[in-house]
C-alpha cells in the first residue's frame, strides 16, 4: 500500500527498552563526572549552569548540584549588581528551572529550598504568581507539606492579606471537607486576623466558622478532621464568651443526630461529638435529661465502637 507502519514484537520492544536505559545511564554518569570536574576547576560558566540543569531535570534531589548552582549564581548576581532588573532576570530563569523540576517531583526538599532561596534574592518577586503555583500544586496533592510551608513563606514575605488566605482555605474545604490541612490553616489564620477577643469582628467570623462546620459535618458526618476543628471552634467560642453560638452548635449537631439518617459509622462520630459538646458544661449545670442522655449515649457508643470502649467509659468519669 503506502508507506506502512509495522509494529515491533514484544522481544524487540524489550531490547529497545534495555538499550534505551543503558544509553540514558551512560549519558547520566558522563554528565555527572563532567560537572564534578568542572567544579573542581572552579568553573562558573553559564554552560556549566545548563549542564546542571540537564541533570536536575532527571533527578532534582541532587542537592550537590543545587549548591553548585547557587555558587555560580551568587557570582553572577554580584556581577549584575549595577544593572537594574538584571538580577531579577537571572533569578526568574532560576524560578522556571525549579518549576520544571517541581513538575516532575513536587516533593523534593532541595528544589523547594532553592526556589525559596531564589525568591529571597529577588528585588521584585511576583508573589501572586507564586501563590497561584501553590494553588495548582494543591490540586495534585492537597496535603503536600512542602507546598504548605512554601505558601506560608509567600504569605509572609509577599504580604498577602490573610483574609484572602482564609477564603482560599474555605474553597479548599468546599472542594473536599476532608482536607485537614485547610482546616488546620484556619486555626492559624483566625487568631492572627482577630487578635482581640472578644470583639464584634471576631464574633462575626466565629459565626461564619460555625456555619462552615455545620455544613461540613452535614455533608461529611464521619470525618474526624472536621470534628477536630470543632474543638478549636469551641475554644474560640469560649474565649469570646459567645454562649449563644455554643447553644446553636449543640442544636445543629443534635438535629443532625436525630434527623440526619446516619449510618452506623456516622452515628459514632456525630454522637461522640454531641456528647463532648454536652460535657463542656460543668456537670452541675446539666439537666437531668441531658445527663441520662449522655449516660445512654456512652453505652451506645461502646456497643457501636467497641474498640474505643475504654475511652468512652472514661467520659463517664466526668459525670
Amino acid at each position: 500500500m503506502h508507506g506502512r507502519v509495522k509494529e515491533r514484537t514484544p522481544e524487540e520492544k524489550q531490547e529497545a527498552v534495555r538499550k534505551e536505559k543503558e544509553r540514558k545511564l551512560l549519558g547520566f554518569t558522563t554528565l555527572w563526572k563532567d560537572i564534578v570536574d568542572r567544579r573542581a576547576e572552579g568553573d562558573r560558566s553559564s554552560e556549566t549552569l545548563m549542564k546542571t540543569n540537564q541533570l536536575l531535570a532527571k533527578c532534582s534531589d541532587l542537592y550537590t548540584l543545587w549548591n553548585y548552582r547557587r555558587e555560580i549564581l551568587l557570582a553572577d548576581l554580584t556581577d549584575a549588581e549595577s544593572e537594574e532588573g538584571k538580577r531579577d532576570g537571572i533569578l526568574r530563569i532560576e524560578l522556571s528551572v525549579t518549576e520544571s523540576c517541581l513538575a516532575l517531583d513536587f516533593k523534593s526538599y532541595s528544589t523547594w529550598y532553592h526556589r525559596k532561596w531564589t525568591l529571597e534574592q529577588m528585588q521584585k518577586a511576583d508573589w501572586q504568581r507564586e501563590l497561584d503555583l501553590t494553588s495548582q500544586l494543591f490540586r495534585l496533592d492537597a496535603r503536600n507539606f512542602h507546598c504548605w510551608n512554601y505558601r506560608r513563606f509567600i504569605v509572609e514575605r509577599g504580604h498577602i492579606p490573610l483574609s484572602s488566605e482564609l477564603a482560599f482555605s474555605t474553597k479548599l474545604i468546599a472542594d473536599d471537607p476532608s482536607n485537614y490541612s485547610a482546616w488546620h490553616y484556619r486555626t492559624t489564620l483566625i487568631p492572627l486576623l482577630f487578635p482581640t477577643v472578644p470583639s464584634p469582628e471576631h464574633q462575626t467570623q466565629i459565626r461564619t466558622e460555625l456555619a462552615l462546620v455545620v455544613t461540613a459535618v452535614n455533608v461529611k458526618a464521619n470525618d474526624q478532621g472536621i470534628w477536630f476543628y470543632t474543638q478549636f471552634l469551641v475554644e474560640q467560642i469560649q474565649k469570646g464568651g459567645y454562649t449563644n453560638l455554643l447553644d446553636e452548635l449543640k442544636e445543629e449537631v443534635k438535629k443532625l443526630y436525630e434527623e440526619g439518617d446516619l449510618t452506623a459509622e456516622e452515628s459514632i462520630a456525630v454522637l461522640h461529638g454531641y456528647v463532648r459538646l454536652l460535657l463542656l458544661d460543668p456537670i452541675q449545670n446539666l439537666k437531668e435529661s441531658d445527663k441520662k442522655f449522655v449516660d445512654d449515649s456512652i453505652d451506645k457508643l461502646c456497643s457501636l465502637d467497641p474498640l474505643r470502649k475504654g475511652y468512652y467509659q472514661s467520659l463517664r468519669d466526668a459525670l
Binding site: 500500500m1 503506502h2 508507506g3 506502512r4 507502519v5 509495522k6 509494529e7 515491533r8 520492544k13 529497545a16 534505551e20 544509553r23 540514558k24 549519558g27 547520566f28 554528565l31 540537564q54 531535570a57 497561584d132 494553588s135 490540586r139 477564603a167 482560599f168 474555605t170 474553597k171 474545604i173 468546599a174 472542594d175 473536599d176 471537607p177 455545620v214 455544613t215 461540613a216 452535614n218 455533608v219 458526618a221 445543629e252 438535629k255 443532625l256 434527623e259 440526619g260 439518617d261
Partner: protein, 603 residues
C-alpha cells in the same frame, strides 16, 4: 486531478460522521475505502461552517431541486445481469430556514464621522418592531419610527455597538455546527478518540455551567459536592439529603436496591419523598436526570448516575461535559483523515448517480459516478439516499423532526462562575436543559460556547437550541430565545443581547429498527420487505436530537459489525515507540521523530 481507482472494497456515500467513522475503521483493517460526497465540504448534516457559508448553504438548499428523475445511465457500464438503480437524495432534510437580524447600524452616515465599532455609542434605546430583517437584507425602515433618547432618560452607559456587517466581517472566525454536540467527560466516544489517535488533534473546553430554568429564571445546577457545599439558599440538612442521594446513585449496590424497591414508581413521586426544595428538585429532574417527573425511577436513576459519574473528572468542581474546540463539525473530518492515513480516499463534489445491482445475487457490484464505473463489494449510504425500491414498510422508520436554532449573542446567558481562585468570572461554555410544558422527554436543549472554543471571535457567543419539533423551528424556538435573551424591543442593560438568529427544521430518518409498535403486517411482512435492499448495502442515519454522540457510535459499530463480523473496531493505533517504518536500512527509528543523538534532553 488524479483519476480514481476503479475498484474498492467499500464505497461510502457521504462524509458525515457515522460514515466517516465506518470508513476509518475499515481503512484501519486495510480495506480499500472510497468516500464520495456530493457537497464541496465534509460532514453532510454534521458539518460546521463559517458564518457566511452557513447562511449561503441554508438559504440555497431550499432552492436546490431534488429531482426524482436521475440521469440516464450509460448502458456500456453495465455487465450482463446487472441493473442500475438511481441514487439521489429523495428530499432535503433541512426545511423552514428562517433568519432574523436583530442589530443593525442605527447611526446614519451624516451624523458623525466614521468611528470604530468600539467607539460608537448607542444612539437610540428603542428599536421598533418593524426593524426585523429576513434572509440577509437588513432593512432600514425602522429609522423614522425610532424615538430619540428623551432628555429625562438616564444617561446610557456606553456599550459596545454592533452592526451585522461587523459580525459578517469576522465570518472566518465562526465555526457553526449543524448538529452541535457535547461530550461526556468519560464518554465512550472520547475513548474512541484516544485509541484512534484523533485525540491528538481534538481538544475540548470544560463546560463550566449547567443550568435549567425554574419558574422562568435561569438556575445553576450544583453538580459536584463542592458546588452543593457552596450552594447558597440551601440548609445544611438539605445539603446532606442531596449529597446522600448523589452518593447513593454513585454506589452500584445501593442504587440497585433503590431501583428494585422503586421499580414501579415514577420519578416525581420518588422525589416527593425526598422533600427537596423545589428549585433543587427541578434542577435534578431537568438538568441532571434530563427527563420528566413521569420517567420511571430505574431509568431516571441510571441517568442521574451517568451524570454524576462524569463529574469531577478534570478537577474537583468540573461538570460532566466537554465542548469540542472548533465545534463538532470537525469530527467527520477527523475520522475521514484517519481513513486517509490508512489509505482511504475522500473525494468531494462528487455525486453518485447509480448503484449497479446484480439481479441474481441482489448485491451491489459497483457505483456509477460521473460516467465512471467504480466496482465495490460493499456500499454505505445515508438514509435519504436509499432509493424507493429498497425501502420497505418498516425501513426507514418514521422521521423525527427537530427544530434547531443558532444564535450569535454578545454576553453569556449563564450566571458567572467561580474560578479556581474563588473569583467570579464569565461562563466559558454552558449547557442548559429546559423542561417543556407538554412533557416531551427531550425538552429544550441549549449549548453556549465562546471564542475560547475557537467557534467565534472574542466579544461574541454562540448559542445552539434544539427540541423535537411541534411546528416550524422559528415558531418553536423563538419564544425561548426571547425569554433568555434581550428581546429586541427593549434595552435592559446587563442583559445578554441576541444579534442574529437562524432557525431550521431537520428531518431525521433512521434505518434501524424502531422501538415503536410493530406494524399490523407483523413479522412476516417485515422480513419479506427487508429483503428488498441488497445484502451488501448498509444505511446510516443523520444526526439525532441527543446531547451526545453515543448513538452515532452505536450505529457505526453496528454497521461495521455487519460488514466485518468479528474484526476489531478501530483498535488502538500504535504509539510512537512501537512503530518501525518499513525501511530496510534504517535502525530503530521512532515516530516521535527524535534523532538518536547525544543530546540526552530529547529522550
Amino acid at each position: 486531478m488524479e483519476e480514481l481507482p476503479k475498484e474498492f472494497e467499500t464505497v461510502v456515500l457521504g462524509t458525515g460522521l457515522p460514515e466517516s467513522i465506518v470508513a476509518a475503521a475499515a481503512s484501519r483493517l486495510d480495506k480499500s475505502i472510497l468516500q464520495l460526497d456530493q457537497n464541496t465540504f465534509y460532514g453532510r448534516d454534521w458539518a460546521g461552517f463559517r458564518l457566511k457559508e452557513l447562511r449561503e448553504y441554508l438559504s440555497t438548499l431550499i432552492q436546490n431541486k431534488f429531482d426524482a428523475v436521475g440521469r440516464a445511465v450509460d448502458e456500456n457500464l453495465l455487465k450482463d445481469g446487472e441493473v442500475a438503480v438511481p441514487i439521489r437524495p429523495s428530499h432535503c432534510p433541512i426545511t423552514n430556514f428562517e433568519e432574523k437580524i436583530y442589530v443593525k447600524d442605527d447611526v446614519s452616515e451624516t451624523d458623525i464621522a466614521p468611528q470604530s465599532r468600539q467607539e460608537r455609542y448607542r444612539r437610540s434605546r428603542h428599536f421598533s418592531g418593524s426593524s426585523v430583517a429576513s434572509s440577509g437584507t437588513s432593512s432600514t425602515q425602522g429609522d423614522e419610527s425610532r424615538t430619540p433618547t428623551t432628555p429625562e432618560a438616564p444617561p446610557v452607559p456606553p456599550r459596545k455597538q454592533f452592526s451585522f456587517d461587523d459580525v459578517l466581517a469576522e465570518s472566518k472566525k465562526f465555526s457553526l455546527d449543524l448538529a452541535p454536540k457535547l461530550f461526556w467527560s468519560n464518554d465512550k466516544f472520547v475513548d474512541l478518540l484516544t485509541t484512534s489517535n484523533v485525540s491528538r488533534y481534538a481538544s475540548f473546553r470544560l463546560v463550566n455551567s449547567v443550568a435549567t430554568t425554574v419558574e422562568g429564571r435561569i438556575t445553576s445546577v450544583p453538580f459536584s459536592q463542592s458546588a452543593i457545599f457552596q450552594y447558597e439558599g440551601l440548609s445544611p440538612s438539605d445539603k446532606r439529603k442531596l449529597v446522600k442521594f448523589m452518593t447513593m446513585c454513585m454506589d452500584p449496590g445501593k442504587m440497585q436496591e433503590q431501583m428494585q424497591a422503586a421499580s414501579q414508581m415514577k420519578l416525581g413521586a420518588y422525589l416527593d419523598k425526598l422533600q427537596l426544595p423545589n428549585t433543587l428538585r427541578k434542577s435534578l429532574v431537568n438538568a441532571v436526570a434530563m427527563c420528566t417527573d413521569q420517567t420511571s425511577v430505574p431509568e431516571a436513576l441510571k441517568r442521574i448516575r451517568r451524570f454524576l459519574q462524569a463529574c469531577g473528572r478534570y478537577g474537583a468542581n468540573t461538570s460532566p461535559f466537554l465542548f469540542p474546540v472548533f465545534g463538532s463539525g470537525e469530527y467527520p473530518q477527523y475520522f475521514a483523515r484517519v481513513s486517509a492515513i490508512f489509505g482511504g480516499i475522500q473525494c468531494l463534489s462528487r455525486t453518485v448517480d447509480h448503484a449497479v445491482v446484480s439481479t441474481s445475487s441482489n448485491k451491489v457490484t459497483a457505483v456509477i459516478s460521473n460516467h465512471e464505473r467504480i466496482a465495490c463489494e460493499n456500499l454505505v449510504l445515508p438514509t435519504e439516499y436509499v432509493p424507493d425500491e429498497w425501502k420497505s414498510s418498516n425501513h426507514p422508520s418514521k422521521a423525527r423532526i427537530l427544530s434547531r436554532a443558532i444564535l450569535i449573542t454578545d454576553h453569556s446567558i449563564f450566571p458567572r462562575v467561580k474560578n479556581d481562585n474563588g473569583e467570579k468570572q464569565a461562563c466559558d461554555s454552558g449547557f442548559m436543559r429546559i423542561a417543556r410544558e407538554d412533557g416531551d422527554e427531550l425538552g429544550v436543549l441549549l449549548v453556549e460556547a465562546s471564542h475560547t472554543a475557537d467557534i467565534c471571535p472574542a466579544d461574541y457567543r454562540v448559542v445552539y437550541l434544539w427540541m423535537n419539533a411541534k411546528s416550524s423551528a422559528r415558531a418553536d424556538l423563538e419564544p425561548y430565545v426571547e425569554r433568555l435573551l434581550e428581546p429586541f424591543q427593549h434595552d435592559r442593560d446587563g442583559m445578554p443581547k441576541v444579534l442574529w438568529a437562524c432557525y431550521h427544521n431537520y428531518e431525521r430518518w433512521t434505518w434501524a429498527e424502531t422501538t415503536e409498535q410493530p406494524s399490523a403486517a407483523g413479522d412476516a411482512g417485515r422480513s419479506a420487505a427487508a429483503g428488498k435492499i441488497p445484502a451488501n448495502v448498509r444505511v446510516v442515519s443523520g444526526p439525532s436530537g441527543s446531547i451526545d454522540l453515543e448513538d452515532v457510535l452505536e450505529e457505526s459499530k453496528a454497521v461495521f459489525e455487519k460488514m466485518y463480523p468479528g474484526l476489531p473496531f478501530l483498535p488502538r493505533i500504535p504509539g510512537p515507540d512501537e512503530i518501525v517504518l518499513d525501511t530496510s536500512d534504517s535502525p530503530s527509528l521512532d515516530q516521535s521523530g527524535n534523532k538518536e543523538s547525544e543530546n540526552i534532553e530529547n529522550v
